[in-house]
Symmetry: C2
Subunit: 311 residues, 2 copies
């Protein structure tokens, strides 16, 4: 394991992939990995990219990777697959576009499923991002479809959250409703050559005028990822946000909030394992049958188990 | 609280609504409610209805409610809202159709959000279903969009899981991929007057021939919820599945599995509260700053907290 870590920290992609697989499996060994990884983290800039299916996130990511590479930066990518029964396939197809970069030694691309592993999607994804950070990737892109709470949780662990919109999907209104405005640091209107793109950008700006002013006003840029137009400005916006985070109180409190989430996730996961073990032992004694007969109830049983394992 | 419970158990809709609100808030009082409710549960048949957005689930539910009411059954409905930034609005609109039943004293309809409450979506939804069961609803319909793990978890707590498909959405192929076949007990091809409906039904049957045979073979029925055609057969299929569950080993093991989930959910929720309290206390001491400086790491801190609270 020490050798594996050493190789990964030196940038060996196969070793990095193995570490990510370990944390993805969420076995107890992953805890040891994360302890050793953690001191090396804190240098990468994590960029979350989210938006509706069909908004062109993968094409946009691909363009961003190319631009970062041309600047000599190493780029890690975690593509979160919602593994939804209804959308899974289409998303995988889109991501083939990103594969053009996978042979580049300075790019590491990994797909992660979102089907409920113990500790949840955000836990494993965040740990994978920390591994890429420790292993010397300057930028870590987390790409996810903006559907469902777990996906929102993922982008929340990013330093800079980029929300991709496209004309003609009615997203502008939807976003206001759901309050996702609050987590977006950078807005991108993709497919800017389509009718209505300017209108979407204008609508976002109006919304930003309405909500209470915060120290960082999210920039809005028009992009055509397909044609490669507007990518420079997109990256400049990301970099501006990074600089803002580095010097502001807001940035400091976000770093602290991140750490809180890391501790809480870790704690909840450990404690769940312990609770499951205690329940496994209890279950042997036919307690389920007694609950089925309504002689007792699940809540009383849980409370009794807790009394036994907690100090 | 005793009076509230008494009124709810006697069928008073306002009292029932208040109990559901209590468990939805997931405060500690909800534990007491569930303990008192539980002995009265186990009579209702819980029907999960899931499928893609636009599959016509709400219209189908509405038809099913009308049919069940004509048979003199009391019906509870829990409409789970994914509260997704991208789909939230549309779904709420569809559900207005169901409201025609809300004035019927034999029908109780409740929308629940899926935004991550403590203990998760499935916990609160399942507890709400148990309340409706205890309060005398013969059928409890849980309607949810089949997107995301948490929604899949919800339908898993249903006695009979109904999967609604429509022609022209490519769902037939998607479903095979994602393994949702395994949780569907009844298939419905809605909008059966559209081209391709027979093909979807045939495809499902082919899939059922391919997967390893199980004692219950899910029936497939063609329905037009909009026109009210095929609803009788749909209900017959649900009833057949109910009878199967009542007499089979499969049914027994599902009831036991449900109980296990109830205990585990309750346990994890209680233990999370305890862990959060322990972490709150710890946090005061500037531990986040030490983690930020990489003097320690979140995993070690979590492990130390656990050592302190566990026997």
């Amino acid at each position: 394991m020490d050798l594996l870590l050493e190789r990964a920290l030196a940038g060996d992609k196969r070793s990095i992939a193995r570490l990510v697989s370990e944390v993805e499996r969420r076995e107890s060994s992953s805890r040891g990995i994360m302890r050793m990884i953690y001191p090396h983290t804190g240098r990468a800039h994590t960029i979350g990219i989210t938006g509706s299916p069909g908004a062109g996130k993968s094409t946009l990511s691909s363009r961003l990777i190319a631009l970062l590479r041309s600047l000599g930066r190493r780029v890690g990518v975690i593509a979160v697959d919602p593994s939804s029964p209804f959308t899974g396939g289409a998303i995988l197809g889109d991501r083939l576009r990103m594969q053009e970069h996978s042979l580049d030694p300075g790019v590491f691309i990994r797909s992660m499923g979102s089907r409920g592993n113990l500790g949840g999607l955000s836990g494993a994804t965040h740990e994978a991002a920390l591994i890429l950070d420790a292993c010397g990737y300057d930028a870590v892109i987390i790409e996810t479809v903006g559907v469902g709470q777990s996906e929102v949780d993922v982008v929340k662990v990013s330093d800079t959250v980029c929300l991709v919109l496209v004309p003609g999907m009615g997203d502008d209104v939807q976003i206001m409703k759901a309050g996702i405005m609050e987590i977006a640091d950078v807005f991108i209107v993709n497919k800017a050559d389509r009718d209505g793109a300017e209108k979407v950008a204008a609508d976002i700006k109006v919304m930003l005028d309405i909500v209470p002013a915060r120290p960082w006003r999210p920039p809005v840029s028009l992009v055509s990822a397909e044609r490669g137009a507007g990518i420079d400005e997109f990256l400049r916006n990301i970099e501006s946000h990074r600089e803002y985070l580095a010097v502001s109180e807001d940035g400091k409190s976000r770093r602290m909030a991140r750490i809180e989430v890391e501790v809480e996730d870790s704690l909840k996961r450990d404690i769940s394992l312990r609770a499951s073990a205690a329940w496994s032992a209890e279950r042997e004694g036919g307690i389920c049958g007694r609950i089925a007969n309504r002689e007792t109830d699940p809540y009383t049983v849980a409370s009794d188990i807790l009394d036994r394992i907690l100090k």
